[in-house]
């Protein structure tokens, strides 16, 4: 049976390894175990002796205590505690793959209270690098160690290579497990065609009409989907004609849309309209704009920036508890990096961006993200395909286009976060605007 590690403080007769006040025991998979977070750093630093690596960490993290007198060789612990174990069990030492190990207790302040926690600090050195592997049993502790190491490397101008941004790991830990909905082949094809800039201009006009009425009139269909007398098949293939009939009832006249994909035989009849093919409408309304945004962000030229991570349509519980009321779905999350600085941004994609929509989403971000005390987003962006009643007031420099910027205030002692909002007109317009906003976020936040 697969066994996992549980870390306890104080007495623990079942422990396979004890150090200081900390005991490590193996528990069955279905029992509550401790989440183990392993993180690797490679730092360009010429250190020859293990004592120097220990003293380096003591120098940069002010409140640490080592639980062994001197650094120890890792192999001693593997031999003593993990030589004859089931390879399927979770290991404590085996996966360090470093020469030395230290057991460190760190003290730090979290939510105005002092917390004490253990982490394992493995390291090896060669002529050019120090390789550090940290194993922590809470993400907050790992974040604390990570922050101290990175801060020091930046201050000392030491080059380093990392696994990934610790905040991204934290973000994943708040994720609520959901079944992923896979787009159909038609959905994928539709998305692909909308990403062609010339097609998008046509789609944009059609979408506006579909959003307003649910369908495209025969007249507009011909106006938008024919160029030089030839149909634009890349676009038109996603639409089907339907009968639109008026039925006179005693009280009032009702329009009825007959959903069937029979091609009208009589071309002179004007009472048919065009709408998305069955199945596509759902994708268009629920997922298309998020997917489209993700692809625009992934495919565009970011210059000195790079998109290092993205995540779409996930639900999170930043309070890290079982309360379903705390769950918040975020359309799209991206992590963008420039030099050694990275920003994690939550993006809300709305077909029509209204004032109320922004207010509602900000309220949810405040209540379910900021007030949790675990916000990891540097900014929130609302992007609309079409503009509703929202007033944009800040110009994108050098253009007549405008956007909105404000602050989502946290009521508790958590920090505020900024939000930005804008709408798009074309793919080029989208790329320019999102680039501009990201630059603003890097500059100010």
């Amino acid at each position: 049976m697969y066994k996992k590690i549980r870390v306890k403080r104080g007495d623990c007769p079942e422990a396979f390894f004890k150090i200081g006040d900390y005991a490590f025991e193996k528990v069955d998979e279905q029992c509550k175990s401790t989440e183990v977070y392993k993180y690797q750093f490679q730092i360009e630093m010429s250190i020859k002796s293990e004592i120097d690596v220990r003293l380096w960490i003591e120098d940069i993290i002010s409140q640490v205590k080592f639980l062994t007198i001197a650094p120890e060789e890792l192999r001693k612990y593997i031999q003593l505690f993990e030589e004859n174990i089931n390879p399927n069990e979770e290991c404590l030492f085996h996966d360090f793959r470093t020469r030395f190990i230290d057991f460190v207790v760190i003290k730090y302040e979290v939510n105005k209270e002092m917390k004490e926690d253990i982490f394992l600090y493995g390291y090896s050195m060669d002529e050019k690098y120090v390789y550090i592997v940290v194993k922590a049993f809470s993400l907050i502790t790992l974040s604390e160690v990570y922050t101290c190491i990175i801060k020091n490397c930046l201050a000392q101008d030491l080059k380093f290579i990392l696994d990934e941004d610790i905040r991204w790991i934290r973000l994943n830990s708040y994720k609520v497990k959901d079944d992923m909905q896979m787009p159909s082949a038609q959905d994928k094809e539709f998305l692909k065609k909308t990403l062609v800039p010339t097609n998008f201009d046509t789609f944009y006009k059609i979408f506006r009409q579909v959003d307003a009425e649910g369908f495209l009139s025969k007249k507009l269909y011909h106006e938008y989907l024919y160029r030089d007398g030839k149909p634009l098949k890349q676009v038109s293939k996603f639409f089907s004609p339907y009968w639109k009939l008026s039925s006179s009832m005693p009280e009032k006249t009702k329009n009825i849309l007959y959903l069937h994909d029979e091609v009208p035989e009589d071309e002179h009849i004007d009472s048919y309209v065009y709408a998305f093919k069955p199945g596509l409408m759902k994708y268009y309304l629920q997922n298309w704009f998020e997917d489209f945004t993700l692809r625009v962000v992934q495919d565009m030229d970011w210059g000195s920036y790079s998109v290092v991570h993205s995540m779409k349509g996930c639900r999170f519980n930043f309070f890290n508890n079982d309360d379903e009321n705390n769950v918040r779905e975020i359309d799209l999350i991206i992590e963008i990096q420039k030099n050694n600085c990275s920003k994690i941004i939550a993006i809300e994609c709305k077909k029509t961006l209204s004032r109320k929509e922004i207010q509602m989403t900000n309220k949810k971000s405040k209540e379910k993200v900021l007030e949790s005390g675990n916000n990891i987003f540097d900014a929130f962006i609302h992007i609309g395909c079409f503009k509703g009643d929202v007033e944009f007031d800040i110009p994108f420099n050098g253009t007549r286009e405008k956007y909105k910027q404000g602050i989502i205030n946290a009521e508790s002692d958590s920090y505020d976060a900024p939000f930005y909002a804008f709408t798009i007109k074309s793919i080029g317009d989208y790329q320019k605007k999102i680039f501009y906003i990201i630059e603003e976020i890097f500059k100010n936040w």
């Binding site: 002796s49 293990e50 004592i51 120097d52 220990r54 003293l55 380096w56 003591e58 120098d59 002010s62 007198i69 001197a70 650094p71 201050a155 000392q156 101008d157 800040i394 910027q405 404000g406 602050i407 946290a410 002692d413 920090y415 505020d416 900024p418 500059k443 100010n444 936040w445």
Partner: protein, 535 residues
């Protein structure tokens, strides 16, 4: 990459960093103001102009090898909410940006803390190892033999330290066992396990005060050679007076005296002791009167917002940050906002930094969320001012008459402070809760004890007068008037009552009567003088 500090850099320590602040930094600072906590990295400091000058001068000299006098010790004293944390964090944040300054804030809350060990807590093991390497290297060329005994003896001779400390330094630098090196470092830092000392043939009494004094001396010598500086801010010094163990208290005073006697030998260290006036520190005086007099010369007061100009500067600093953060302009509401801040219950007669920052944030939030209509200004401005003045008079009178005896003591301290400044004196320290004000008038230092009690009596006054015996300073006592007081012969006691206090407050604020001397000011508060005039 951080740079090395120069003496000139310190001049920018208290500069307003508004233009270099990102929106994120603005948001964090404003959040702290709203919560009433000191920002981690304050970007401005509006008041304390005198103290800022003193600290800048001291630090400029400290970092200038031609002007440095060696160790610097400064005591900063502040009343609750006056911005002590804000002040020390400004210094700490600024110095922390330089690669050759080791700046630490150490809390003195714990009981029986040994000052030397708290200093050594601020020095990392890595630095101690580097120091040991340096010391051993420095004698290497001078010794005839490479043998450890020769090196150790040379360290003893050259650095005038004990052989036991020299052996430990040698072990750290040249020892072969990593374990022993770490144990030796732990002994030098004072955080060793009991069994370590046996391994180095040491006895507990070997690690005495002299030993640790020399450890600090040798580390600071190394710092000097490497152009490194240690700045330790000991926060919450007031807790020392609350330590139950008198030996621990006395050891702390002895250490401070020892350090201040050896400033030349302890270069490159700057110690700041930050102290709140919330605790009765008479024990400190009883424990060691000599220390108290020495401490007084090193103590500087973090004053509250002492003038309308300072309050206005604070308001403007917060306002411009707020406007930039929220991208809005509130200039047309400024008068109304200020009026509302002054009416805020948080202010209520207090002049402390925290009350103003919190009230300002509250009012600014109100104006941002629901900007009210602008108030119509009364053309007859003077009339309005008079009405306000009268209202304030009534407010003060009400406040005094409704105040408890403890609040009366605080109110009276503020009235005295205002009076002292009017007569050209200087308030050196003010402990409102204790009712103790240290002032300088015509180059003389005096202590004014303010007593407020609901049941004044001869017996109570006699008892208190016995406890106020100071050999070095002149004392004045303010005591509530009671009938029998006419028969008493205390020359330095001023008997006040509600009428004299209310009248004095009005005179000081309207300047209807200017007090030219300290004696006249005290007479103004004394009910007996009033009776003489009336008769």
């Amino acid at each position: 990459m951080r740079k090395k500090i120069t003496a000139n850099d310190c001049k920018a320590m208290f500069n307003d960093r508004f233009n270099s602040l990102s929106s994120k930094e603005l948001g964090i600072e404003l959040k702290h103001f709203a919560m009433g906590t000191a920002p981690e990295s304050p970007s401005f400091l509006v008041n304390q102009d005198e103290l800022k000058k003193i600290i800048i001068e001291k630090l400029c000299n400290f970092f200038d090898e031609n002007k440095s006098q060696g160790l610097e010790i400064v005591f900063l004293k502040s009343n609750y909410g006056n911005g002590k944390s804000h002040f020390i964090r400004t210094i700490y944040t600024f110095l922390n940006e330089y690669e050759n300054v080791i700046a630490k804030i150490v809390s003195l809350k714990q009981e029986e803390t040994d000052l030397k060990k708290r200093i050594l807590e601020s020095v990392s093991q890595k630095r101690i190892m580097e120091c040991a390497n340096y010391i051993v290297e420095s004698v290497q060329e001078e010794v005839i033999s490479d043998e450890s005994i020769a090196v150790v003896n040379m360290i003893v001779e050259k650095y005038e330290i004990g052989i036991k400390l020299a052996r430990l330094l040698y072990e750290i630098a040249r020892g072969e066992s990593v374990e022993r090196k770490i144990q030796a470092i732990a002994i030098l830092k004072g955080n060793y396990e009991v069994d370590y000392i046996k391994k180095f043939d040491l006895q507990k009494h070997d690690l005495n005060n002299d030993f640790y004094y020399n450890v600090i001396r040798i580390i600071l010598y190394y710092f000097q050679q490497r152009d490194l500086y240690l700045v330790v801010v000991f926060d919450e010094y007031e807790h020392v007076c609350l330590w139950k163990d008198s030996r621990a208290r006395n050891s702390m005073y002895e250490d401070i005296k020892l350090f201040s006697d050896n400033i030349r030998k302890l270069e490159n260290m700057f110690m700041v002791f930050a102290e709140s006036d919330s605790v009765d520190n008479t024990l400190e005086f009883k424990d060691d009167p000599a220390f108290m007099s020495r401490k007084a010369s090193m103590t500087y007061e973090i004053s509250d917002l002492s003038s309308e100009t300072e309050v206005d500067r604070l308001f403007k600093m917060i306002l411009k940050r707020y406007e930039k953060y929220y991208n809005l302009a509130l200039d047309r509401y400024v008068d109304d906002i200020k009026e509302m801040i002054n009416e805020d219950p948080l202010i209520g007669g207090k002049t402390n930094y925290r009350a103003y920052t919190q009230a300002t944030m509250r009012v600014l939030d109100f104006y941002r969320n629901k900007p009210p209509k602008l108030k119509k200004k009364n053309n007859a401005k003077i009339l309005k001012q008079n009405i306000e003045r009268e209202a304030e008079d009534v407010n003060f009178e009400n406040k005094w008459l409704c105040a408890t005896s403890i609040s009366k003591k605080t109110i009276l301290c503020d009235v005295i402070k205002q009076g002292i400044e009017q007569v050209g004196g200087r308030v050196l320290s003010i402990a409102r809760k204790q009712g103790k004000i240290e002032v300088e008038i015509n180059n003389d230092t005096r202590i004014i004890f303010v007593i407020s009690t609901d049941i004044p009596s001869t017996k109570d006054l006699d008892k208190r007068m016995d406890s106020f015996v100071s050999e070095s300073m002149q004392e004045d006592v303010l005591y509530p008037y009671f009938d029998e007081c006419k028969n008493l012969k205390y020359e330095n006691v001023t008997f006040y009552d509600s009428d004299t206090v209310i009248k004095m407050e009005r005179n000081l604020n309207t300047k209807d009567q200017i007090y030219e001397s300290y004696e006249n000011f005290l007479k103004g508060l004394d009910i007996r003088s009033k009776n003489v005039q009336e008769n």
